[in-house]
């Protein structure tokens, strides 16, 4: 049995969880094994319908009186107990902070190896997995073997298409009550502080207007802000611009910043360093505005405008404003 950790918002599965589920389903199909999901939190039992579309045969909703707030060790222990009960040998998780840290903890409990950032997984004759995973934020691919009694996998972001299963299932939904010691709640979310930042988080924006070194100053981001606003999107920045102090680090798109997946990424004055490009790989389309027609970003874009962003963006804003 393959057990997939699913994160959800009140019964609606998260996108990255569905991606990881797609990976798990591929494996289940190849192994002729069943696919079951484990979920925590309120309204997890509402996941049944939707997860059925993706071929999940059972949904296990973990219930514990202490688990109203996220606690990674307790989550991990619950998964371990469930896996033991259900005899799951392969456990998958989404490529999120929680998914990765919970699975890593499962790894320590089971003394099991874990492969993160997976792009594809095949099963070798001896039962080991032959997989490909991202390194360097996706600039390199590692071909690796994962072997062991238990195998743990997380999916790379935006690599597995979310497609319904050929034959939907009607999963059973059950509650799983783990036996978790108090000391496994030593690490637990104490409180949540809502940000005073307005606007749409980078990771969720449909339109991202990115600015790099070519923007030239913090003030010049006003034009990009306006464009983002006109398009209902948000502003991102390259590491170079963040290092210049023009934007806060939260705006950084790239290997050590946010990974974005908008409908369109409008990259202004960004050269297209590889560390930046791995952060915007998830964008459906890419429009580059750059003075250098040979810049790496232009090579990778779908569309490009060769010109100075300080000329193009205000003009574009004006047209969009008039149209609005």
């Amino acid at each position: 049995m393959i057990l997939a950790l699913v994160e959800h918002d009140k019964g609606t599965p998260e996108e990255l969880s569905l991606e990881a589920l797609a990976m798990a389903r591929e494996l289940a199909t190849a192994e002729g094994d069943s696919l079951e999901a484990v979920a925590f939190g309120d309204e997890a039992d509402a996941l049944g319908d939707e997860l059925g579309e993706y071929g999940v045969e059972a949904v296990h909703c973990v219930a514990h009186h202490h688990l109203e707030r996220y606690a990674p060790d307790a989550w991990a222990e619950s998964v371990v107990q469930l896996a033991s009960e259900r005899e799951a040998k392969t456990i998958t998780a989404p490529g999120t902070d929680r998914g990765r840290e919970v699975l890593a903890r499962v790894g320590t409990s089971l003394d099991a190896p874990m492969a993160t950032n997976c792009l594809a997984v095949d099963i070798a004759d001896d039962g080991a997995y032959e997989l490909r995973r991202n390194r360097w934020g996706g600039s390199l691919i590692e071909h690796a073997r994962l072997d062991g009694e238990h195998k743990l996998l997380t999916a790379a972001e935006h690599e597995f298409p979310i497609e319904p299963a050929a034959s939907p299932t009607e999963p059973s939904v059950s509650t799983f009550e783990p036996d978790v010691d108090d000391d496994l709640f030593a690490v637990q979310v104490d409180r949540v502080e809502t940000g005073d930042e307005e606007g749409i988080p980078l990771g969720e924006a449909r339109v991202v207007v990115g600015g790099g070194r070519g923007v030239g100053s913090a003030e010049d981001y006003d034009q990009l802000e306006e464009l983002a606003e006109l398009l209902g999107g948000t502003v991102g920045a390259s590491r170079a611009a963040v290092n210049e102090g023009w934007r806060p680090h939260d705006d950084q798109v790239g290997q050590t910043g946010a990974k974005i997946s908008p409908d369109i990424y409008i990259a202004c004055g960004i050269s297209g360093a590889v560390q930046h490009m791995v952060g915007c790989k998830g964008a459906d389309t890419l429009l580059a505005i750059n003075t250098d027609s040979e810049a790496a970003i232009v090579q990778k874009a779908d569309w490009a405008v060769i010109g100075d962003l300080h000329e193009v963006v205000p003009e574009l804003n004006e047209v969009l404003r008039d149209a609005a």
Binding site: D292, E294, A295, A296
Partner: protein, 842 residues
């Protein structure tokens, strides 16, 4: 400016760093109308050394050529509004360096650039952040400053476009794949954007130049080397000062480092670390390099001592609590076997030029000078020290370049004696006399790769014999006597009394054969070439401007056979000059015999007796008159001899096949035993003997900036036949000379008492404390210096304006911070010793 990649161009310039941009601009300025400028990288910074240089220009060097190129470059940067005049300061931590800085002052004066010594107090005032406790003083160059080479490149491209009326195509991100050569000439440049036909191509690719040259089967001898550089900031002290730089650039000479303000940062650069040479093939591509291909990461361990030294001299700035090392690189630059640029035609492929190994501080002027060279055949600033052909056929191997670069890197900012010899890759070129000379404890100096004895320790016994004559001519000062020996003077005196053998001189020997050989050479030389077979002609070779390309001897061996003999240092460039002038379809073949024939000079009163005793032929005055050449058989050796002398004595230059050279030496040595024949060194041949005779030397007295009339070499008059430079030459003969080459002697070597001093060359000539300048703006300086033991004086040659060029005129020379009285002995070319040339003619 066109963007489309052309299928043909008049001129292709490969490389769009500061050098390529400058070359394209000046070519356009000088009339080239259809130029393609391309680079592998993007613009404005294609990723070469231009993009990471510290961009300061210190004009004063001991080389006149480099000083003048830098000064001219500053003018150009100023004209493009890309220059900031900050001044520059070289500080001394030692007394030895203070003496060197006095020499800097002297060079500054000689090359017409302002510069003065500063006291520690003055330095404190000027650069308050220096730790003056460790400084003895400094040399201040008010003309120094910083530039913006990337911006200058943009201006140059725009101007080139304007001058060509849109005839400039700039093609960045274009990789050269191959150079096409047809019938020995460049025909096209193949790139990833297409192939462009061109019969004129210049390689201005910095440290990639050898790679591009190799595509045409030719060599550009340079290697990438690391210059470590870091930038420290933000420094609060600089916050009160607007702009890029408000303080002089500081060179901490003794640690081979510099510190210069750049906005709120201090750039600290070093040449003191161990030489780190790169293989050009190891340099990452633009895509692979995190910063740029020429900015690999700092090699930390090599930089440790540099940090220590920098912290010692600018502690306050570098210890600013807010400041950190924000940028640190092993900056790659081009290093050549002798440190000078590599400019000029690559003679094995017509139409292919090198414009490489040029620093930011020289680049605009180099572009101008090479453009002049390409378009009209000569440059306003003489570039013989940078002529790429100086390494022709000996100094292009990777190993040689590596060894010399390794050695030369350590001399950057060093105190380099004007006669200092290279130690690596030696011996490289040896004559058949070498082993015997080595046995005689010859002290070898190198010229164009050839090992030449400067003097022989085995002649030490002569010091005693000539003790009286040498009195007052020995050099008590260590610097003056470094790379020198009084034995040279004793050898000289012995030659004048008895007989000496000199060899091998490392000459360039080129035979010209063919029906058109006579006519061709006639068109190249000032002197008449169509002389009787057996005659020799010493003649200037001029550029169209009437300046000197060379001076050399041509002997007629047969109706259609001439032999041209030139100095070793000029052999490569002379070969290129003559080779490139042979008209198409002319029946002239140039045969390079430089490595086939060795040369042994036998000179002195007893020379005839010695030679006659071993020669099959009659070598009497009647049978073998002066200034003629004949075949002779010396013992078993088939030789060819010219009766002439560069040292003013009776005798011959004997030329023999290299394979028989050893035998030739033995025969002469044995035959001369009764006359106490001594081998004597180039110290006699090149300096003492020459100066007493007032003979001029190419690269010293003779260069493009002076004409034969000024040099006193107008004895040929104006011949009927046309020749290169004839018009300018004729005009020079008619007009009054702005300067005349004179021989001067030092009247007092210790005017203020103490140690007598002896000038070595390059010192300014003063009148009333001021450097003498002629009406064409040329400073008077010592072109050659050396002692004339027979005349008992230390002799200097210098060009002087007519009002000073009078025999007996008293002037002064500045040397190491002092003035010494000098007297004009000869104005013009008359020899000081044996003015009627009786010795040669008897």
């Amino acid at each position: 400016m066109s963007d489309a990649f052309p299928s043909s161009a008049d001129t292709v310039v490969i490389g769009a760093g500061i050098v390529g941009n400058s070359l394209a601009y000046h070519l356009a300025d000088q009339g080239r109308e259809d130029i393609l400028l391309l680079d592998k990288g993007p613009l404005p910074d294609p990723g070469g050394s231009t993009g990471h240089a510290s961009n300061f220009l210190m004009p004063v060097e001991h080389s006149k050529e480099i000083t003048h190129l830098t000064r001219r470059s500053i003018e150009q940067y100023e004209d493009m509004d890309t220059f900031t005049n900050s001044g520059g300061l070289e500080v001394a931590r030692t007394e030895e360096r203070m003496a060197e800085l006095e020499r800097r002052v002297q060079s500054a004066a000689a090359w017409g650039e302002p510069g003065r010594l500063l006291s520690v107090e003055e330095i404190e005032e000027m650069v308050p952040y220096l730790n003056t406790d460790i400084i003895k003083g400094g040399f201040y160059s008010p003309g120094a400053g910083t530039c913006d080479p990337l911006r200058a490149g943009e201006v140059m491209r725009a101007r080139a476009d304007e001058y060509t009326d849109g005839g400039l195509t700039v093609s960045p991100n274009t990789t050269v794949l191959d150079l096409h050569v047809e019938d020995g000439a460049i025909s096209a440049v193949e790139t990833d954007r297409g192939t462009v036909k061109a019969d004129e191509v210049a390689i201005a690719c910095g440290l990639w130049s050898p790679k591009i040259a190799a595509m045409a089967g030719v060599e550009i001898p340079l290697t990438p080397a690391v210059h470590q550089m870091v930038s420290v900031g933000p420094i609060s002290f600089f916050e009160d000062y607007e702009g890029e730089i408000s303080f002089p650039v500081v060179r901490d000479m003794d640690t081979q480092m510099y510190e210069r303000q750049h906005g709120n940062d201090l750039e600290v650069g070093s040449y003191q670390h161990r030489p780190i040479l790169w293989d050009v093939d190891e340099i990452p591509s633009i895509d692979e390099a995190p910063l740029s291909p020429t900015q690999p990461p700092l090699t930390d361990d090599a930089f440790e001592q540099s940090m220590h030294d920098a912290l010692e001299i600018v502690p306050e700035l570098l210890d600013d609590p807010e400041a950190g090392v924000r940028h640190e690189i092993d900056g790659l630059l081009s290093v050549t076997p002798d440190g000078a640029p590599l400019l000029g035609p690559l003679q094995d492929v017509d139409g292919l030029w090198s414009c490489a190994a040029v620093w930011i501080k020289e680049a605009p002027a180099v572009g101008e000078a090479v453009a002049q060279w390409m378009t009209r055949g000569w440059s306003d600033i003489d570039l013989h020290g940078s002529d790429i052909n100086r390494f022709y056929e000996y100094g292009n191997s990777r190993q040689f370049v590596k060894n010399r670069a390794h050695e030369g890197f350590q001399k950057i900012y060093g105190i380099v004696h004007p006669h200092e010899q290279w130690q690596s890759s030696r011996p490289l070129r040896t004559s058949p006399f070498y082993d015997r000379q080595d046995d005689l404890e010859a002290r070898f100096f190198e010229a164009a790769g050839w090992e030449r004895p400067q003097w022989y320790e085995s002649n030490e016994d002569l010091l005693e014999r000539y003790a009286e004559e040498l009195e007052g001519l020995e050099r008590p000062n260590e610097w003056d006597s470094r790379w020198w020996s009084p034995i040279i003077l004793a050898e000289h005196l012995h030659m004048r009394d008895e007989v000496a053998m000199v060899g091998d001189m490392g000459f360039g020997i080129f035979d010209f054969v063919g029906e058109d050989a006579c006519e061709f050479l006639e068109g190249m030389a000032v002197g008449r070439i169509d002389v009787d077979v057996g005659k020799t002609v010493y003649t200037p070779i001029l550029a169209e401007n009437g300046g000197f390309v060379s001076d050399l001897t041509i002997a007629r061996l047969g109706p259609d056979h001439f032999r041209l003999i030139t100095g070793g240092a000029a052999a490569g460039s002379d070969r290129a000059w003559f080779g490139s002038h042979i008209p198409e379809n002319a029946d002239v073949t140039m045969i390079d015999n430089s490595e086939s024939l060795c040369t042994l000079g036998v000179w002195g009163p007893s020379a005839r007796e010695v030679i006659q005793s071993v020669a099959e032929e009659d070598v009497s005055h009647e049978a073998f008159p002066p200034y003629t050449a004949q075949e002779v058989t010396i013992g078993e050796v088939d030789a060819w001899a010219m009766r002439l002398s560069y040292v003013g004595e009776r005798g011959w230059e004997l030329y023999a096949p290299m394979g028989q050279g050893r035998r030739l030496w033995e025969l002469v040595e044995e035959a001369g035993e009764d006359h106490d024949v001594r081998p004597v060194g180039m110290g006699v041949y090149g300096t003492t003997g020459r100066l007493e005779k007032g003979y001029r030397l190419h690269g010293h007295e003779l260069e493009l900036e002076y004409d034969p009339s000024e040099a006193g070499l107008s004895f040929h008059g104006i011949k009927e036949a046309d020749f290169v430079g004839k018009e300018a030459y004729a005009e020079a003969l008619e007009t009054e000379d702005a300067a005349t080459l004179c021989t001067l002697s030092v009247a007092d070597h210790a005017p203020e008492g103490g140690e007598p001093r002896f000038m070595l060359g390059g010192e300014p000539i003063l009148d009333d404390g001021e450097v003498i300048v002629d009406e064409e703006g040329r400073e008077s300086y010592v072109t050659s210096a050396g002692t004339g033991p027979t005349v008992g004086k230390h002799l200097l040659m210098a060009y002087l304006p007519p009002e000073y060029a009078e025999e007996g005129r008293e002037l002064a020379v500045e040397y190491m911070g002092q003035q010494y009285p000098v007297t004009v002995e000869i104005a013009g070319s008359e020899p000081l010793f044996d003015p009627e040339n009786d010795r040669i003619r008897s």
